[in-house]
Each structure stands twice: as structure tokens, then as C-alpha cells.
């Protein structure tokens, strides 16, 4: 398999970074008498903290990262090609396998695209349910993001175990709604399936919402205010707003650099324009900023979920109907972005008059945010590289597709 590589770009260097020593990463470094030799290290694809099968080809000067080349493709499943052989509804199951930590937002991007091809809009109740699922999904994903970041800076799995336990409750809710815990395949054109909402969903979701602020506070006590954690996260891996924009970063990676861009506000979809929530930003652009943006977004998502619970009592009980035949007219194409936990998730589809899309293209935020890693990590130590990498919060399923 031919693996893809990129070395990052963007303007400017990290202030403390030494100039990149050699341009050709594969060329062995010249050993000069009295000077330390550069060491090339294959960091991954099976390394405990590459969150899956990412491969970083590092050039090290002692412990300092001189160059970092991102190699990926080890988890490539040709999902975009497979989608051409699936129907518009059946193919949704493929996008569950992309960012499997937050499959609901993937479902949403997919189904909004299909709906735009068909020119249909689901009834309000369906939209409220979808937004509620998206936001619960965001909470779950941000728990993983912050908990695993704790492990990346060296907490021995404690924060990860907490995060997974807290996420588990949200997965239970998803199980009630759609019978699946990770790969939901919940949305349908114009509706969701099953259409009947579970019996005591409100009590369960409210219980989660009640516990969430305490847990965010627990995370703050455990990590944010820990002196060692601050040493490892504050000022490390600064990404300027200009660089973040020129590398088209989105999500907490962009908002951590002070750019208040959120698809839910910039180009509202579903019912987001009616909801009351803040776009969280931090100006520092360091690992701490990205981490704090996630924790604050958990609280904002909780706000949205509570609003959705109230809205569900008000809106009409109409759950919509799934069209008998999902066959958009030939030549139609649509591109829809939703705000996933990791950034803007985009789905492009082109119809050719058959039940299958002619072309599907997925914009995965993890993949694009990962492009900022070489820029951010040059000049930092190996330990900081892990901290920076963890603060981007990528998902390899989505990077490789």
C-alpha cells in the first residue's frame, strides 16, 4: 500500500523552534565532528499514544523534535469508494465507522446531504431529536478527548477510565434510542429510525445533565489546576490564528487559537439557529487552550441538550415519513457541513439517478487538523509532541477513511 504523507505547511515557525535541518526527510543526517547526530525514529504505527495507527516519522536531535512527518493510511478502508456501491440509506452505516467516537454527528452530515439531494426537510421533532443526539455525542467525544489527553501528558489511565465511565451513560441513552452503542445508523431521510422514542429517556438524559457540571469540575480539579499538568500544557504547541486558518483547522483546534468559528453558528443547520449557546474560544492557541475549549463545550452542549428536552414537549408529535424510494435526480450534488466534536464534518454527494451516489467525499476534521501537527511540534521535546498531538484530539478512523 502506498502511504500518504504530509509535512505540514503554514507560515511562520514556532518561536523556540530551531530551523529545520534538512529538507529531504529520508536523507541521512550528516554527522559532523563535535555535533550531535540526528536520529530518525519511526513513531508508530504501533505506539501506545498514537491513538490508533498513526505513524510519525520523527527526526530527533536528542529529545528535541527537529522534524515530524505524518504518515497515515494504515486504517484505510476505502469508505468513500464503498459508499458508491451502497444505497443512500444503507451507506450511512459506513460513516458510523469514520469517527466512531461520535458517530451521531457523522450520521447527521450524511443524512443532511441526502435530504438536500432529495429536497426534503424533516419535521421539527426529528430535528430536535437529532440535535439532542449530536450534542450528547459531542459530550461523549469531548470526555474521551480530555480524558485521553490526560493520559497523553502522563496520568496513568485514571482520567481515561473516568471519561469512559461517564461516556458509558451516554452510550446507554443511545442504546435506548437506536439499539446501538457505537455505530448507530439512526437517521433516515426525513426522519429517524426507530421513530418511537424510548419511554424514560428524559429522566436518564436529565440525570446525565445533572452530573455533567460536577464532572467537568472534577476534571478541572484533577487536571486543569494540577501544577504538573499546567507545566505540560500551558504555552506548549502554540498555533497562531493565522496558521490555524491557513491550515483550515476547525473545531476546538481552531477555537483554541481564538477564532470564533463554529458551523452551528456560521451556517446553522437543523434547529441550531433557535438555540441558545455560546461559541467557546480561547486566545492562547496552546494545548491548554484546546483542552479547556473542550471542557467548556461540554457545558454548552449540556445547555443545548436541556433546551432540546424542553422543546420535545412543545413540538408537534409528527416524526415524519421515510420516502419509499431514495433516488435523487441525476446530476444533483450537495455538500453539507455539520459541527462535529473534532471540527467541521463535511459530506459531499453527487447523484446519478440510481439508488447509489455516484461520488461521496468526506471532509474529516481530524485529517485536516492533523496537518497542523508538524508545524506545532517542531522544536519541542518528544513528551511535548505527545501533548500537542493529544490536544488535537484526532480519530484515526476518520483520518484514514
Amino acid at each position: 500500500m502506498r502511504l500518504l504523507r504530509f509535512r505540514g505547511g503554514g507560515g511562520g515557525d514556532v518561536a523556540t523552534a530551531p530551523a529545520p535541518i534538512d529538507d529531504e526527510p529520508r536523507r541521512p543526517a550528516p554527522v559532523q565532528p563535535g555535533k550531535s547526530a540526528l536520529v530518525k525514529v519511526n513513531f508508530g504505527p504501533h505506539h501506545p499514544s498514537t491513538h490508533g495507527v498513526l505513524h510519525l516519522f520523527l527526526t530527533l536531535d536528542g529529545e528535541i523534535v527537529v522534524d515530524c512527518e505524518v504518515v497515515f493510511g494504515y486504517l484505510h478502508r476505502a469508505i468513500e469508494k464503498l459508499a458508491e456501491q451502497r444505497t443512500y440509506v444503507g451507506g450511512q452505516a459506513l460513516c458510523d465507522r469514520l469517527d466512531y467516537v461520535s458517530a451521531m454527528t457523522n450520521n447527521h452530515a450524511w443524512m443532511l446531504t441526502v435530504e438536500r439531494l432529495l429536497d426534503i426537510e424533516p419535521p421539527p421533532r426529528v430535528q430536535v431529536v437529532r440535535v439532542m443526539m449530536d450534542e450528547l455525542s459531542r459530550i461523549a467525544s469531548h470526555w474521551i478527548g480530555t480524558g485521553v489527553y490526560g493520559q497523553d501528558v502522563g496520568v496513568l489511565v485514571t482520567s481515561v477510565m473516568w471519561a469512559f465511565n461517564w461516556r458509558e451513560e451516554i452510550l446507554d441513552v443511545f442504546d435506548d434510542f437506536c439499539g446501538q452503542r457505537m455505530t448507530y445508523n439512526y437517521y433516515r431521510p426525513g426522519t429517524v429510525y426507530p421513530q418511537r422514542l424510548p419511554d424514560d429517556y428524559e429522566r436518564k438524559i436529565r440525570a446525565i445533565c445533572d452530573r455533567t457540571p460536577g464532572r467537568v469540575e472534577q476534571m478541572h480539579r484533577f487536571l486543569t489546576r494540577n501544577q504538573i499538568f499546567r507545566l505540560r500544557a500551558v504555552g506548549v504547541g502554540v498555533l497562531s490564528a493565522d496558521d490555524a486558518l491557513s491550515l483550515s483547522c476547525t473545531g476546538p483546534t481552531l477555537r483554541g487559537s481564538g477564532v470564533a468559528y463554529d458551523v452551528r453558528r456560521a451556517r446553522p443547520y437543523a434547529i441550531y439557529s433557535d438555540l441558545d449557546f455560546d461559541v467557546i474560544t480561547r486566545d492562547a492557541g496552546d494545548c491548554m487552550a484546546r483542552y479547556e475549549v473542550r471542557l467548556d463545550e461540554i457545558l454548552q452542549s449540556r445547555r443545548i441538550v436541556l433546551q432540546c428536552l424542553d422543546l420535545l414537549k412543545e413540538v408537534s408529535p409528527d416524526m415524519g415519513r421515510e420516502p419509499k424510494q431514495v433516488k435523487p435526480a441525476a446530476g444533483r450534488e450537495a455538500y453539507v457541513e455539520v459541527e462535529g466534536p473534532k471540527g467541521a464534518v463535511g459530506c459531499y454527494m453527487k447523484a446519478n439517478g440510481t439508488p447509489n451516489p455516484e461520488r461521496m467525499k468526506w471532509r474529516s476534521p481530524s485529517f485536516i487538523n492533523l496537518g497542523a501537527l508538524p508545524l506545532m511540534s517542531r522544536g519541542w521535546k518528544i513528551a511535548d509532541l505527545i501533548s500537542i498531538f493529544g490536544s488535537i484530539d484526532i480519530n484515526m478512523g476518520e483520518v484514514d477513511r
Partner: protein, 356 residues
């Protein structure tokens, strides 16, 4: 002297054996008796050290599970009490894979070198008034010297593995011991100043009036941190930082070769607890004069308490970066250790009756 002060029935099992040894010595004065006593003591200490390390693994895992909202091992034996035996058997049965271009001799020698020091250190730890395998006059010096012997083993492991991560881990280990050996010795020096002796039993005896953790609070804190750093215990486990350099110096090890590193880690964690107890927590001396509990149990309880504190730190703190960590050693612990020495001298001049 101290043994005579305590009632005979309060002796632990270690006392019993050693007492039997001295009776044997009376019966057979000369060579044979001495040899038998020595063999019994060596067997006792070595086996206690190894079995205790296994028990610590269990305590460690259950505590870890407690911190992480999960159950931990609870299937093998009563409440998972035999899990460490099962793990040991598994490790012994597994193949020791040696990388093709590794230096075989040093690769296999390294875990053995690493595991010896902590067993040797047990020899001079006074578990009870008579429960000490070798009451050396330079006990504390012996402990500190012998535990430092593990690091050549660690560096050998890192170097012989022919792996870049292992090499980085080994180099970090060397940087670490150079940095933290100094504050460790300096903080122990305060206690030596108080006790006026390097002997472990004398140090315990000198704490009759007050445990040294009270006048030597800074020293105790510095000693614990420096000892944890020297033992590469989290949050100072840079030589084997999992999220950075896979498993550091032990990356290429498998089977019982890895098991020995694991054993040494836990064994030396207990050694820290035991030495800390001896130096600062009054050793086997009872708290509030409760002599019903035998001294050996008092000692173990205190040592396990220190161990529990270390496990607590292990699962609640993130890891330092290597440069931050080394500057912490030189710029924070070192001055504090010197300050502690000054404090010790001043206290000794002002309150000479602190020491028994």
C-alpha cells in the same frame, strides 16, 4: 538493649526465627551455627522480599482500580489474592524474545542486575528489634549505595536492546539518578545528624522521644520525592514513560525477563517505604504506646502506608517533561535538602533532648 525493653510475647515471626538462630548459635558456638544462621536469614529475607513484591502487585492493582472507578483483579483466589501468582506463572511460561541484533549477554544480564539491589537492601532493614538480617554499622549508607546499583542494569537494558526508545529510556534513567542521588543522600544526612549513627537500629532507637518526620519534615518530603524519582516511580517514571517512549528501557523485554523488571519496580517501591519508615516514622516503634500489636506489624503497616501514598501519587499526577523534571531536582530539591541540613543542625543545637 532495645529488645530487652520489649516483652517477649510481642515478637513477630522474624523475631522468632532470629531468636532461634541465636539459640542455635549458643548451642553450636563456632562455624556451623553461623553458617546455618546466615543461610536462614538469607532465605528469609530473599523470600520475604520476593513474596512481598507479589503482594504489593495485588495491593497496587486493587488501589489503582479503586482510583479509576473499576473493580480490579477479583477472580483468582479470594478477592484476587492469587492473581499475582497466576501472573508470575504466566510470565515464567512465556518465551523471552531476544531481538536479533541485541547484545544477548547484556540483554539477559540486565534484569538480573536490576532485581538484586532491592533484595540486598532488605538485609539491613530492621523489621523489629531483633528482626534484622545484618545489623551493619553503616546500614543507611549500604541501602543507598546498593539501591543505586540498579541503574547500571537499567542502562544496560536500554543499550543492549538495540532499540531507540530503549536507548532514550536508558539515558533518561542515568540523567535521573545523577540528579536525584544528591538530594536523596543530603536529606538522609539530616537523620544521620540527629541519630549520630549510620546504623539502622540506632536510627530507630533514637526516635524514642519523637519521630524524625516532625523535626525533619522538609527532609522527609525531599527524601520521599527523591527516592521515588530514583526508583523511577510515577510521576517521575521518565525512563519508562509509556505515552512517550513506549516502555523505555524494558520495551524489548518479554516473559520473565520483563517480569524481573516488574518485580524490581514493586520490590524497590516497598524498599522506599521501609527505609522511609525507618528513617522518619520511627521504624517498628508503636504509635501511642500500643504494644499489643507486635513491632513487626507496626513496621509493615507504616511501610505499606508510605507505599499507599506512592500509589496515590502515581495515579493522580501527570508526568513531568524531562527538562522540567531535572531542573526540579537541581533547583528545588537540592536547595531544600541543604536547607533541611541547616534546620537539622539548628534544631539539634536548640532542642538537644529531641533525640533519645
Amino acid at each position: 538493649m532495645i529488645a530487652a525493653a520489649l516483652p517477649a510475647r510481642s515478637c513477630g515471626s522474624a523475631d522468632f526465627i532470629c531468636g532461634a538462630g541465636s539459640r542455635l548459635h549458643d548451642t553450636f558456638p563456632g562455624g556451623t551455627g553461623d553458617v546455618v544462621i546466615a543461610v536462614i536469614k538469607v532465605l528469609l529475607v530473599a523470600n520475604f522480599a520476593l513474596i512481598n513484591a507479589g503482594v504489593m502487585v495485588l495491593v497496587w492493582r486493587r488501589m489503582m482500580a479503586f482510583f479509576q472507578d473499576r473493580l480490579g483483579p477479583n477472580r483468582v483466589g479470594v478477592m484476587g489474592s492469587l492473581q499475582w501468582v497466576a501472573d508470575g506463572i504466566k510470565l515464567i511460561l512465556k518465551e523471552i524474545i531476544i531481538p536479533r541484533r541485541a547484545d544477548r549477554t547484556f540483554f539477559l544480564l540486565a534484569p538480573i542486575i536490576v532485581v538484586f539491589p532491592f533484595i540486598l537492601a532488605y538485609a539491613v532493614i530492621p523489621f523489629s528489634p531483633t528482626g534484622i538480617a545484618a545489623d551493619m554499622s553503616i546500614g543507611i549508607l549500604f541501602v543507598l549505595a546498593v539501591t543505586a546499583l540498579a541503574f547500571p542494569g537499567v542502562f544496560m537494558a536500554g543499550w543492549s536492546s538495540n532499540n531507540k526508545y530503549a536507548m532514550i529510556g536508558g539515558m533518561r534513567a542515568v540523567a535521573q539518578i545523577i540528579t536525584f542521588e544528591v538530594p536523596l543522600l543530603l536529606s538522609a544526612l539530616g537523620v544521620v545528624l540527629f541519630a549520630g549513627s549510620l546504623s539502622m537500629t540506632h536510627i530507630v532507637g533514637a526516635q524514642q522521644n519523637v519521630w524524625f518526620v516532625v523535626p525533619q519534615a522538609i527532609g522527609a518530603a525531599v527524601f520521599l520525592m527523591a527516592a521515588m524519582a530514583e526508583n523511577a516511580a510515577h510521576p517521575f517514571d521518565l525512563p519508562e514513560a509509556e505515552s512517550e517512549i513506549v516502555s523505555g528501557y524494558s520495551t524489548e523485554y518479554s516473559g520473565m525477563a520483563f517480569g524481573l523488571f516488574y518485580l524490581a519496580e514493586f520490590g524497590s517501591t516497598f524498599t522506599i517505604g521501609a527505609v522511609f519508615t525507618t528513617l522518619f516514622l520511627g521504624g517498628y516503634r508503636p504509635l501511642f504506646g500500643i504494644t499489643v500489636i507486635p513491632p513487626v506489624l507496626w513496621f509493615l503497616a507504616k511501610a505499606y502506608l508510605v507505599f499507599a501514598v506512592m500509589v496515590w501519587a502515581r495515579f493522580s499526577l501527570p508526568r513531568f517533561r524531562v527538562d522540567q523534571f531535572l531542573s526540579f531536582g537541581w533547583k528545588v530539591l537540592m536547595p531544600l535538602a541543604f536547607l533541611n541540613l541547616l534546620v537539622a543542625a539548628a534544631e539539634l543545637a536548640i532542642f538537644p533532648h529531641l533525640v533519645a
